[in-house]
């Protein structure tokens, strides 16, 4: 008997479907939500009450401290007098006057005050450099990031009291960036390539030509590689590396001097020892982040390589770096590294720290990315192979886009951890914001004994930066998962 046979009498056939009915009261509305989430049974009710009690206990302890805070005073003693006078003897209160007095040191360390426009501009330009990379897909979000970055830069410039021309220049640059992002976002990438040179020049000053020549060395290596790619593909990478080394060792400096003679583009030189506060943390963090990702990818691929030599090297490197604490690497950077340098070489301390932080983060990054690579089904490699793609094409077009997507939470986690680890440079005598600058501030008799306020201030800024990174990672995950469904 067939189901579609209509001649057979059937007992019951539904001809109309029941319409959906409204949910009962306890399933919707605020009351329904409370019932379901907070008071669904006696155990959850007890937990809810306990939770509220704990929150209340915390807030009631800390709230007066914030509520009684003093924002303008010349010293900690003065703060305490004001609090005692207003809120009575024995009342606790925060003395944020120290932030008002010393905010510039928390942000810039001992950077010359007249030159504050330079670091602020560097940070502003960073938004322009990052926008086409981080938000390459959505024009709306790129617009929003650029506008937000511009606003933040302007506010910072206003606070720092920078010369008017620099604010105007920055505003004009943001205008150009917005226009470019709108009509030719590809062009903006050229600025991203050029940004490191510009940033280094703005921050440290000196002649523009010196960092330019470093970039020119890379460009020369690239050109050599391209020229040789057709004739001797095996030789090309080595030739490129040799070209870069020769350029940096022999050509860079004389050429920079010659160009400076023709067109002296020069800013007041600021030494690395004058860097401090969040400027230092951001310089180390951002450079470390941007360099550790590519290095981590290379290490991860090397560790999965079939070539025993490359694989062994990668394993040794990763395991060694992961096996030692970051502090020990920083000590090596601050003291030991100089023993290996020819006498008289001046190898910048921040550069040394950046190198150490980068290789440290890269080792962790490599393992995170290796996890992503391992998670890809073997079929993806086979499909890429069977289409005739070579190793690097397969990695770049098929494997890495998927592996990196899987690894995003781990990668951003490593970034965040690394950014917070920049505070460790305080141990080798650099003035990072958390302890270095705070100790310096407390060394002033007026602010002796102030502990919590600087911690709260620094903590909030760290939180904002790390939280934005975490939100970005969530945005990226969401966007990529939408793309693939």
């Amino acid at each position: 008997m067939s189901v579609t046979d209509t001649t057979v009498p059937t007992a019951y056939v539904r001809t109309e479907m029941l319409p959906p009915r409204a949910a009962p009261m306890q399933r919707k509305g605020a009351l329904g939500w409370l019932r379901e989430n907070l008071f669904s049974n006696w155990f959850n009710t007890v937990l809810t009450v306990l939770g509220i009690a704990i929150i209340w206990w915390f807030v009631s302890h800390f709230w007066p401290w914030f509520a009684h805070s003093v924002w303008s005073a010349g010293s900690l003693r003065e703060c305490r007098e004001i609090i005692a006078a207003t809120w009575g003897e024995g009342a606790s209160g925060a003395c944020f006057a120290v932030i008002r007095e010393r905010w510039h040191q928390y942000l810039f360390g001992f950077y010359p005050r007249a030159e504050y426009w330079r670091p602020v501009m560097t940070i502003g330009l960073m938004f322009i450099a990052l926008a086409p990379v981080l938000f390459s897909v959505s024009a709306t979000i790129r617009r929003r990031v650029l506008a937000g970055g511009g606003l933040l830069t302007m506010i910072l410039m206003a606070i720092c009291g920078v010369p008017l021309w620099s604010a105007m220049l920055m505003l004009a640059l943001f205008g150009v960036a917005l226009l470019l992002a709108e009509y030719a976002p590809g062009r903006l990438l050229w600025f991203t390539v050029f940004y490191p040179v510009l940033g280094v020049w703005l921050l440290w000053g000196g002649s523009l030509w010196s960092p330019m020549m470093v970039l020119a060395g890379l460009a020369a290596g690239f050109v050599v590689a391209r020229l040789l790619a057709k004739r001797a593909p095996g030789l090309a990478p080595f030739a490129a590396i040799i070209t870069i080394a020769i350029w940096w060792a022999f050509i860079s400096q004389p050429l920079a001097d010659a160009l400076a003679g023709v067109l002296p583009l020069s800013l007041l030189h600021v030494t690395s020892r004058e860097f401090g506060g969040f400027l230092l943390a951001i310089v180390i963090g951002v450079s470390g982040i941007t360099m550790s990702l590519p290095l981590g990818i290379v290490l991860a691929l090397a560790r999965r390589s079939d070539m025993p030599l490359i694989k062994t090297f990668a394993v040794m490197f990763i395991e060694f770096i992961r096996g030692v604490p970051l502090i020990s690497l920083l000590f090596v950077a601050s003291t030991l590294l100089n023993y290996f340098m020819p006498p008289g070489t001046n190898f910048d301390i921040i550069l040394r720290v950046i190198i150490m932080v980068t290789i440290f983060a890269a080792a962790y990054m490599a393992e995170v990315i290796r996890g992503g690579l391992a998670a890809l089904p073997k079929g993806q490699y086979e499909a890429a192979d069977s289409l005739g793609l070579d190793y690097w094409q397969a990695q770049r077009l098929i494997i890495l886009p998927q592996a990196l997507k899987i690894s995003i939470p781990g990668i951003v986690g490593t970034f965040i951890g690394m950014f917070k680890d920049t505070t460790l440079v305080g141990l080798i005598g650099l003035y990072e914001p958390l302890k270095g600058i705070s100790d310096f501030v407390r060394a002033d008799f007026n602010w002796k004994g102030i502990y919590w306020e600087p911690f709260v201030f620094v903590g909030v800024i760290f939180f904002v930066i790390c939280f934005s990174m975490s939100r970005y990672s969530m945005y990226l995950e969401r966007r990529l998962s939408r793309e693939n469904r």
Partner: protein, 264 residues
């Protein structure tokens, strides 16, 4: 596929005009996984335009055999010559062979982060250095051929298994290969989707493509194969035309296999 049981005579196969050399020549080839001898003394010559179905129980080495042809697996002794190029550890030769040999996998292996169209244009653009517009035009032609041009801008995850496998076939065809390898293309599909994939393969066979299919679809074998190869324990046990193979199997192992696979 029982409705189309017309067997094609081997002599009807249009030989490739440009060359009379065989498409694939395998001589005395052996392969081991560690100490396990997976393929034993394989000798196989595939003429241009020939359609071969490889059958056999699981673990008999049939997938390994066709995976050796584009060197997804390495053989340890003997020779494999594909389209005049011998497969050795020379990466250049391997890439050259792979760009001439298309492969369709049991689990499709589409690239999930690329659209259907991008899946198809990727290899022509990067391996054949074809301009993007031309590659897209080519891809659309093959997507039409497998009858899913309307899905071009979707991601593989949005398609059904049968559609995905047809995209995989189109992706391989976009490289305009001379030889197509099919590694159990219908084994991971729901029954109602097997037909659409087999129909596509039959159409492809009618264009004179050299095809090697590992499959359990005996109807397909009867309909399009010029030769059926039966493998067991890493060896070619029997090979014959489909009609002879199914109606008059010689080897005991073949008889047992056929009785199990056709018995119900």
């Amino acid at each position: 596929m029982s409705e189309t049981t017309t067997t094609i005579d081997r002599n009807d196969v249009p030989a490739d005009a440009t060359s009379t050399a065989p498409a694939i020549e395998i001589r005395d080839m052996n392969k081991w996984y560690g100490a396990f001898h997976v393929l034993r003394d394989i000798d196989l010559t595939v003429a241009r335009g020939e359609r071969i179905v490889i059958a056999g129980p699981s673990g008999s080495g049939k997938s390994t055999l066709i995976r050796c042809i584009n060197r997804l697996e390495e053989h340890q002794s003997g020779q494999i010559i594909v389209d005049g190029i011998e497969l050795t550890s020379d990466i250049k030769n391997i890439d050259k062979v792979r760009s001439e040999v298309g492969m369709v996998f049991q689990h499709f292996n589409l690239f999930p982060h690329l659209t259907v169209l991008e899946n198809c244009t990727l290899a022509p653009i990067w391996v054949r250095k074809m301009p993007k517009a031309k590659a897209e035009e080519l891809a659309m032609r093959f997507l039409e051929k497998v009858r899913i041009p309307e899905q071009a801008n979707k991601y593989p995850g949005q398609l059904s298994g049968g559609q995905q496998q047809r995209v995989a076939i189109a992706r391989s065809l976009c490289m305009e290969p001379r030889i197509m390898l099919f590694d159990e293309p219908t084994s991971a599909l729901d029954p109602e989707m097997i037909k659409e994939v087999l129909d596509t393969m039959i159409e492809l066979a009618e264009t004179g493509m050299t095809m090697l299919c590992v499959t359990h679809e005996m109807g397909f074998a009867q309909a399009v194969a010029d030769r059926v190869i039966f493998m067991d324990q890493g060896q070619i046990v029997e090979q014959n035309t489909p009609s002879e193979f199914f109606n008059n199997p010689q080897n005991e192992r073949t008889k047992l296999f056929l009785s199990q696979i056709l018995g119900h």
